[in-house]
């Protein structure tokens, strides 16, 4: 019964979204207030109906209703409750439902916080949101219905892919989708602006909080995915340039560019067409990400729903959405008037440089991801593009970006002098040179690349802190004056300092994990000791243990610092076989320290020697810095989101714009 209610609610949601996608749009074009007024209630109705559908599916999962095909395929009675719930979106159909739910949440957030948006803009934004929902609801109902029944119901389900039964991954898709779908807000605003033929600073101020929120969520999603790969796949790697990873990384890169260009559009009324373009690109890449993962045009280790029929549907959807909006852009874009002028060396110039590098990086990742597809489509054979290409093409773009990132905030708007700005950074430069030199003179693992990486991280990190200190006149004015300046500093500036500093911290982690990783693979008998990067790992043997829905082999390693008797930590990696699917997973045991992670994985038993196992022991230096750095970045994004101008009415502009919308938080 609940399942039918869910199904009907979803059909109802489709009709509501058709209404939401058409009536207010027509109303806005004709200037009819009543028609435009349909938008807000429709967005509430959509949130309600989609929530009912989502709740119905969740009930089916939690209650293990095996008359529902989707539950049969992805759940099992013995699964822990958390994974019964996360199983709702751990599969293709359910994840699409989550997508639409998040879209509905964002849509109603516009109704809630956008009371002071101009009537026409609000109606158009909500209509575009409605149209996106129409596409996705049609897709769900016709090709991926999660409410399909199965008769006769089997006694138990087939369980969720055990790799996905993990706390990190339970929350990875929701955050990723909050990011993807969040960019739909910027997109809807861009389309609405093109339809209205007006892009002004007030418009940019409305777009920015939504983009910031989406960017922060997407960052969390990507980091959760990377963290999961790091501890679950058992290779000690954290980024593989896999198509699915790239699919989430491209919108992030474009979104980062959008965040920065929106600043220029808001403060200086410049780069407006470009900002609109980036808003379309960021969401298009989100859609493309969905397409790449779901349609099967690219193989990937974790494409969990591949079906050409769905692919055709999504392709048509993409052509309408992306092709349509680019056509609109080509038609109305040239009418957007360019605003404030600026010199190449200026704050605007540095933000534009950020944009150019970010979009180039996006294009590189897009090219690398799609290259196998191009070659295959041209019948030139099958190729795969791996990390060597991406590292060789992506990192050189990031180097000038990071170098310029420390300088940009010192430049003033309109026109600036590069030399005085660089002069202000002389101590930072000396410090980063010293850090690079120290890295290069290390006893072990000194390399030019790693030293340069550390140089860049210190350059960015110290440069950001130094700029912050300058801004509050630390040590130059009285302490009280500095404190006062700190309190008065806009939250968006705080946000910038945090995110830039966070990136510096994360770069240190990336350099460490890539340059100084130590690994050792061997066969070990119980009692045997292997030394890895100054740590003695003694294999104490392995035994069988039983989990709630798996059987596991649990090994035990006592770890001591070389030369010491005291046990530093005991690591217990596992190899699990999930009872229902019979699929094995490795559970690495990780002990994190600020200097690096002690990481142990247990492999296959020896054929000849009883009790001996293949073991993989790693020392992954500075990995935690990556997670901490990324967390600081997200925190910075959230701080910026609470900026005063997003919370209260911004000063009126001569264009007569009304006060800004509040953010989604």
């Amino acid at each position: 019964m609940t399942v039918e209610i869910g199904h009907y609610a979803l059909v109802l949601a489709l009709f509501v979204s058709i209404l939401q996608g058409t009536v207010p749009l027509i109303g806005a074009a004709r200037g009819q207030h009543r028609w435009m007024a349909v938008a807000a209630p429709a967005s509430w109705a959509q949130l309600f109906t989609v929530s009912v559908a989502f709740a119905a599916l969740t009930v089916a999962y939690v209650g293990s209703d095996f008359s529902v095909l989707n539950v049969v395929k992805n759940s099992h009675t013995t699964k822990p409750l958390l994974y019964k719930i996360s199983g709702v979106w751990g599969n293709h159909e359910g994840s699409m439902l989550l997508w639409v739910l998040i879209l509905a949440i964002f849509g109603s957030a516009v109704s809630l916080f956008g009371r002071n948006l101009p009537e026409g803009l609000k109606a158009r934004v909500l209509s575009v949101q409605g149209l996106i929902a129409v596409g996705f609801l049609l897709f769900i109902l016709f090709t991926s219905n999660p409410f399909e029944r199965v008769f006769p119901p089997p006694p138990d389900g087939q369980s969720l892919n055990p790799l996905l039964q993990d706390p990190g991954l339970a929350f990875h898709p929701p955050f990723l989708y909050l990011g993807y779908v969040g960019f739909s807000m910027a997109f809807s605003f861009a389309i609405a602006a093109l339809l209205e033929g007006r892009v002004d600073p007030a418009w940019a101020r409305w777009v920015r909080p939504w983009t910031l929120a989406a960017w922060s969520f997407l960052t969390v999603g990507i980091v959760l995915g990377s963290w999961w790969a790091y501890y679950e796949l058992g290779w000690g790697g954290w980024w593989f340039w896999d198509p699915v990873e790239n699919a989430s990384f491209m919108p992030w890169l474009a979104g980062t560019a959008l965040l920065h260009s929106a600043i220029v559009a808001e403060k200086r009324d410049a780069l407006k067409a470009w900002t609109v373009f980036l808003a379309i690109v960021a969401f298009s890449l989100s859609l493309l990400g969905t397409f790449l993962v779901r349609s099967g045009v690219l193989t990937s280790v974790h494409a969990f729903a591949t079906d050409p029929q769905r692919g055709v549907f999504i392709l048509i959807l993409l052509i309408i959405a992306i092709g349509g909006s680019f056509a609109l852009f080509a038609w109305r874009g040239p009418a957007i008037k360019a605003g404030g002028m600026f010199k190449p060396v200026s704050r605007e110039g540095s933000l534009l440089l950020n944009n150019l590098l970010m979009t180039t990086a996006t294009a590189v990742v897009l090219l690398g991801t799609l290259y196998p597809l191009f070659i295959d489509a041209l019948d030139l054979g099958k190729v795969s593009v791996g990390a060597p290409f991406f590292n060789a093409a992506f990192i050189p773009i990031m180097i000038p970006l990071v170098l310029a990132m420390a300088v940009g905030p010192y430049l003033s708007w309109k026109r600036a002098d590069l030399f005085p700005a660089l002069l202000k950074l002389k101590f930072v430069f000396i410090a980063s040179l010293a850090a690079g030199a120290m890295t290069f003179s290390m006893k072990e693992g000194a390399s030019v690349l790693a030293s340069f990486g550390i140089f860049m991280a210190v350059w960015l990190g110290a440069g950001t802190v130094w700029e912050f200190a300058n801004r509050i006149k630390l040590f130059r004015a009285s302490l009280g004056e500095s404190l006062k300046r700190m309190v008065r500093m806009p939250r968006s500036m705080w946000g910038m300092s945090f995110t830039h500093f966070g990136l510096a911290v994360a770069i240190v982690g990336m350099i460490g994990a890539e340059a100084w990783k130590v690994e050792s693979i061997q066969m070990m008998k119980p009692g045997e000791t292997v030394t890895v990067a100054g740590w003695d790992y003694t294999f104490e043997g392995a035994r069988d243990v039983a989990g709630p829905n798996y059987a596991a082999l649990r090994a035990s390693f006592t770890v001591r610092r070389t030369g010491e008797d005291e046990i530093f930590v005991t690591l217990r990696p596992e190899k699990r076989v999930y009872t229902v699917s019979q699929r094995p997973t490795t559970e690495a045991a990780i002990h994190t320290t600020w200097l690096g992670d002690l990481y142990a994985v247990i492999g296959d038993p020896s054929e000849e020697i009883k009790g001996a196992f293949v073991t993989r022991l790693y020392f992954n230096p500075l990995v935690v810095w990556m997670w901490v750095g990324a967390s600081i970045m997200v925190f910075g994004g959230l701080v910026s989101l609470t900026d005063r101008r997003h919370r209260v009415g911004a000063p009126k502009r001569k264009s007569g714009a009304v006060p800004a919308a509040a953010p989604a938080e």
């Binding site: 379309i280 680019f326 693979i521 293949v614």
Partner: protein, 179 residues
């Protein structure tokens, strides 16, 4: 006019992409090129791994029945079959040619072979997968039996254990030696 063209550019690029997607949908990315069973080995000439004098080429496989083994120092399952390959080498059962696949660092394979022993007659470095893809490799370890005329006759996926060798691979090798 030129300004308008710039604004048309994104649409144009996207439409080209869309055509590729449409063609891509008609293809199955999982279907790898048919493995080379009963076909000649692809012509190749692999360089040596660090510390070795020479690699090997498809010519080296001619005139004898050989086992071509795909391995890598990063591959755990390769370690599982390694003791048995060493045994084959010790007893002079069959010449084994190793293709060192997707190695990331110079010398990793050399160290690996020093530590665990070298069962190979010759080893070639295939870090960019060029030859392995021609062979239709899907993972490591994988082994191919090549006959005297250089034709691939059998492909074994996964580690070779004594039982698989005794029951499956060795009978094929014996058969081919008679040809």
């Amino acid at each position: 006019m030129s300004k308008r063209l710039i604004y048309l550019l994104p649409l144009g690029i996207f439409l080209i992409l869309a055509v590729y997607f449409a063609v891509g949908l008609t293809k199955d990315p999982r279907k790898l090129p048919s493995t080379l069973i009963n076909r000649e080995v692809p012509a190749f000439d692999l360089p040596a791994i660090q510390g070795f004098d020479r690699g090997f080429s498809s010519q080296d496989l001619m005139g004898q029945v050989t086992l071509v083994n795909i391995f890598g120092s990063w591959c755990v399952a390769c370690l599982a079959e390694h003791p048995f390959l060493m045994e084959l080498k010790k007893n002079n059962v069959i010449p084994i040619y190793g293709i060192d696949w997707r190695e990331k660092t110079d010398g990793a394979a050399t160290q690996w072979l020093e530590r665990h022993g070298n069962p190979y007659t010759l080893v070639g470095d295939d870090r960019d997968s060029r030859v392995s893809i021609d062979f239709g490799v899907t993972g490591a370890p994988e082994s191919f039996i090549v006959d005297k005329k250089g034709i691939v006759r059998y492909k074994h996926i996964g580690p070779i254990y004594p039982e698989t060798w005794r029951d499956t691979l060795f009978p094929i090798v014996e058969e081919l030696r008679k040809e």
